[in-house]
Amino acid sequence: MTSCSSTEVRRCRPLLGTFVEMTAEGHDAESMNRAIESAFVAMERVEKLMSFFRPDSDVARLNRQAFREQVMVNADTFLVLEHGLALSRASNGAFDFTVASPLLVQMVQRENAPLPNLPGDWRDVELLPGNRVSFRRPLHLDLGGIAKGFAVDVAVDCLRATGVESGMVNAGGDLRAFGPRKYLVDIRHPAFPQAMAHRVELQGCALATSSPCFTETERNGQRVSHLVNPLDRSSLLGHRSVSVQAPECWLADGLAKVVFNAPLLAETLLEEFGAHAFVLSA
């Protein structure tokens, strides 16, 4: 049966530090609105659990306590940790969510303290039965590299479960399309955000873009951005962006970092995960 009376509802809210837009296509506007409402609630939950900044988030609790004792986290947080560690293992640490950008750490500490350099890395994260986590060495866990993508996946699951046929969830550029409809997506120019540099067509898959150049700034005489190369702990800099197209958004989000930090290895990983990357450089 063709849905000739299909309607589209689009909504937008500030969430996850950016603007989250949801598009839902289905038979009636009322149920699309309800579906979107529940998907926003689900995303808010992810934000509360995985925010680096909220003192009561799972991430903040882990950073405070997991080096000293086992910390129990929500099942979703645990799942994101499993996803991330799998990606760290597969990429030999080119993706590593335990090396938070000094920019983030300073925003939390709210002072110009010397750049922290904690020795721990992804191999120090121990996942234990009962959603418990412990760190073998002190580290700054930052799920920013995949949690936004994960939140998009959660919202997509929610929309599908509530009967939306086709749709799109876009969290500030980390996005995922689902259903039969094709969506055109424009990738911003890595140096001039108001210009669109490349267009891709998405059907039933995700696209996430990472670029250091809009957060690049100077701290204590050093150029830093929100993106870090975990292999040498330097900030990623420069007018380039990496967009990864993958089946799920957490994966697109995480793989984008691998393409930045280890492009040769990334070829193999992209193949393995059924993904593609677009590297834009000015």
Partner: protein, 179 residues
């Protein structure tokens, strides 16, 4: 094994005004309905702030007050106050946003909806060498891009100015609407 990563060189210099991108998510009525599905009436209660009030709000919120006129509705059902519905505008770095804040009758935030989102494009980067190639050409220095853009990936836009807007409107509630 190659071919999974596509390397694309994009112009290092971008000249000209391109397009505006606008997305309308809500009319006032649909935003009201989304925020207060159960409400029966929205009674207009627009506020014109005096300069003292504007200063007081700035002081209490730490956020600049740009507009003296604020569109506000008192929300009621069967004569019972449900809260307030406020339409506001904020300017970001490149974007202009109309949004609505719904407050419960005790002044706490009930919900928030983006009503309209616009990005303005009027970008020009001056670079003599690059521009030289267009000398003598008509319309050459203008990169025209498609207007019909629906989905954008790339630099994440911060929503901090909305957060500031919430602080400002909560201060407005405290100083002007409460009591």
């Amino acid at each position: 094994m190659s071919g999974r990563i596509h390397y694309l060189a994009v112009p290092a210099i971008v000249v000209g005004a391109f397009h505006g991108y606008a997305a309308v998510y809500h009319t006032v009525e649909s935003a009201q309905k989304a925020c207060f599905p159960e409400a029966a009436t929205f009674v207009s209660a627009d506020v014109k702030l005096s300069s003292q009030e504007m200063k007081a709000i700035e002081k209490a919120s730490g956020v600049r007050v740009r507009l003296e006129n604020q569109k506000i509705w008192k929300v009621e059902k069967n004569g019972q106050a449900l809260g307030w519905f406020i339409v506001d505008e904020v300017l970001g770095k490149h974007e202009f946003i109309t949004w609505a804040l719904a407050l419960k009758s005790d002044g706490s935030v009930q919900s928030l909806e983006i009503m309209e989102y616009r990005e303005t494009y009027g970008y020009e980067v001056r670079n003599a060498d690059w521009r030289a190639q267009f000398v003598g050409k008509k319309n050459g220095a203008r990169l025209k891009l498609d207007d019909d853009i629906k989905n954008v990936s790339g630099a994440t836009l911060s929503c901090r100015h909305i957060t500031d807007g919430v602080k400002r409107l909560l201060a407005l509630y405290d100083l002007v609407l409460k009591h």
